[in-house]
């Protein structure tokens, strides 16, 4: 319990730090002015520049963390996450395709459609030959590896589509694909809060199913769970959460992969619900912290957040792979 409170405290501290620190140092008076609604440079920096950025980072990070936790529990594999398995790339491709086709559909819907289509594709491709038992019979690692393959294909199709875009569109799409929190406004913050919050609410009644599934499908079925339906619902919720994040920050890599174990380690949470909450908090912390480092560590130089999470996440993925190999899982 103490550690869970500690994680909440850390989340609060990181958010406060991200509001107070940046390229430009603001003194206490300017900060106070910005927070209390005065006028002047402090107000501009806090309310227009940093505030929405931090809000969107918190929301998107939490959604990615939750999504990662769902898939890692569901597949009982620490490598399972919407970014590694290509779902966020699928969401990204769908948005890119709609930009290329000149459609102006709502981004979250397009992202969700792309993510779901990719997830279905991965499930079909990973199905073992003559797999009468469907996805249930597919080993988790197969799903992860097929997902990685589908993710690469998706990224390549995305690169191809990029060449079809006009200059400004291509520049925008390129920046967006790397993942960026630049120029977000409160509308983006509201969007991720509403959609992410909605999916989080949808997730609440499914926590019990997740708990049962962790016991293994046979035992879960024995305890009265409709395994197939529960799995599909959980996966759809996970894809929806990832898509909600992708729609506001782009397919930021590795957050969903790292957040669940980091959250579990920091909070010491054991239960499914606790681990989900901890993963959400850890995702938010990772995104906000990575964005802070990306925008404030070097004077004059501002990097997109995707660069930062890539720098953090790639070594983590390698370490995780080596752990899995030691344990004989790979």
């Amino acid at each position: 319990m103490m550690r869970a409170l500690g994680l909440a405290g850390l989340l609060f501290a990181v958010a406060a730090l991200a509001l107070t620190a940046g390229q430009v140092h603001l003194d206490a008076a300017a900060l106070w002015q910005g927070i209390t609604g005065g006028d002047g440079p402090g107000a501009l920096t806090i309310r227009i520049l940093r505030g929405p950025r931090v809000a969107v980072g918190l929301g998107a990070g939490a959604a990615l963390g939750l999504s990662g936790a769902i898939f890692q529990s569901l597949l009982r594999n620490p490598l399972a996450s919407p970014d590694v398995m290509g779902f966020t790339a699928g969401s990204g491709l769908a948005i890119l395709a709609s930009i290329t086709a000149g459609l102006s559909l709502p981004m979250p819907l397009v992202a969700a459609a792309g993510g779901l289509a990719t997830a279905v594709l991965v499930a079909i491709l990973a199905r073992p030959p003559g797999g009468a038992r469907g996805v249930e019979g597919t080993p988790a690692l197969t799903l992860v590896l097929v997902g990685i393959g589908v993710g690469f294909t998706t990224a390549s199709v995305g690169s191809f589509l990029m060449t079809r875009l006009s200059g400004p569109q291509a520049a925008e799409a390129h920046r967006w694909l790397a993942g960026s929190l630049s120029a977000r406004d409160w509308g983006h913050g509201l969007q991720i809060a509403l959609i992410g919050g909605l999916f989080a609410l949808v997730l609440v009644p499914q926590v019990r199913a997740l708990k049962l599934l962790e016991l293994g499908p046979e035992l879960a079925a024995g305890l009265g769970l409709r395994v197939r339906r529960a799995r599909v619902l959980l996966a759809a919720t996970g894809v929806g959460l990832a898509a909600a994040a992708v729609a506001v920050v782009g397919p930021v890599a590795f957050v969903a992969l790292m957040a669940p174990p980091v959250g579990a380690r920091l909070s010491g949470a054991r239960g499914a619900g606790g681990r989900l909450a901890a993963a959400a908090a850890a995702g938010a912390i990772i995104v906000v912290l990575a964005d802070l480092v990306a925008r404030a560590s070097l004077p004059g130089l501002q990097l997109p957040i995707g660069v930062m999470t890539g720098i953090l996440g790639a070594p983590y993925l390698l370490w995780r792979l080596s752990r899995e190999m030691e344990r004989g899982e790979l």
Partner: protein, 326 residues
């Protein structure tokens, strides 16, 4: 401001203008004539600009300018308003300003912005104008930046990096209340071009292509790009194949390494870094181009920038005797 102080300011302004006009036109009589045409009173009242993201209104001529375009600081410097921040493009030059424009910096120490636009930094500089022309910023970035100061963008008909140099110079001139000076800069460059055409009537109708080769990609500068326009202004025309290229960006078009025939012009100019020369020489299909076959026509030169005349010519090396055959 006392009248004495404003006189001083005016004479400082005049000294600036004279230097620039001299640099621009290079000829005394012309310079003196043009200088007389500068109006003493700057434009006043709100200045309105319609552009690709809508309309921007300036309450009056801008003085503290953040230049986010990759080359817009050249025009601002030529107009005598050194920006408070410039966008880093490339090259190891202090304040991101290339040698031709360094003298125009004076005491200015602009902040150099790299990567994504660091908006807090822009806000902290308290600009009264942000130049987004040629910066590639998105509509979302434009909207956030507009909270800080009025933002100028390229016109709707232009691509992000394709606002013609003369239109850009005039737009910036108007925003700074220096329209007359912008006019002088533009006509000065125009006169240089027409003088060059008059000296070389044989250039008319010949084909010329500015080409690039970097990162393993070969291509040509096309459309309204200033490198492409430079040769057109000198009387050349692009090869028909290049004239038909638009490329994904509108200002450069990559070519297949198997078919460099669009580059087969009377004059082929590679605009690349010095380090790219070995790669360029090794391009297999280069040997099929007339420039190579007819021999003795391929040269390389270190970038030896001429003194800045205006934004237009600033990114081109002078045709100097130091060129070596490759």
């Amino acid at each position: 401001m006392t009248s004495r102080a404003s006189d001083l300011a005016n004479s400082a302004e005049a000294a600036w203008s004279r230097r620039r006009v001299l640099a621009c036109l290079g000829a005394w009589p012309l310079a003196a004539g043009a200088f007389g045409a500068v109006p003493a009173i700057a434009e006043t009242g709100p200045l309105r600009f319609t552009h690709t993201f809508g309309e921007t209104v300036l309450p009056g001529p801008a003085r503290r300018v953040v230049s986010l375009g990759y080359t817009t600081h050249d025009a601002l410097l030529a107009l005598g308003v050194p920006p408070v921040a410039v966008r880093y493009w490339f090259g190891d030059f202090s304040y991101g300003v290339w040698p031709w424009a360094q003298p125009y910096l004076g005491d200015a120490r602009p902040f150099v912005l790299t990567g994504e636009v660091a908006m807090e930094r822009v806000a902290a500089l308290k600009p009264d104008l942000i130049v987004g022309i040629g910066s590639g910023i998105s509509r979302a970035e434009y909207q956030v930046l507009s909270h800080i100061a009025p933002v100028l963008m390229h016109e709707d008909a232009d691509t992000s990096y394709g606002m013609p140099w003369d239109v850009m110079t005039r737009t910036l001139g108007r925003a700074l209340g220096k329209s007359a000076q912008a006019e002088i800069l533009v006509s000065g460059v125009r006169e240089k071009f027409s003088a060059a055409r008059a000296r070389h009537p044989d250039w008319a109708g010949k084909t010329a292509v500015p080409a690039y080769h970097w990162g393993g990609e070969t291509g040509a500068f096309v459309g309204a790009d200033s490198r492409a326009r430079f040769f057109i202004e000198l009387g050349f025309q692009p090869t028909p194949a290049v004239a038909n290229l638009s490329g994904p960006s509108g200002f450069y078009a990559p070519l297949s390494p198997e078919d460099l025939s669009p580059l087969d012009a009377d004059i082929l100019v590679w605009i690349s870094s010095y380090g790219a020369v070995p790669d360029l020489v090794a391009l297999p299909m280069r040997r099929t181009l007339r420039a190579h076959i007819e021999g003795g026509r391929s040269w390389q030169a270190r970038l030896s920038p001429v003194r800045c005349r205006s934004a237009a010519c600033c990114r081109f090396p002078s045709f100097s005797k130091s060129w070596k055959p490759i």
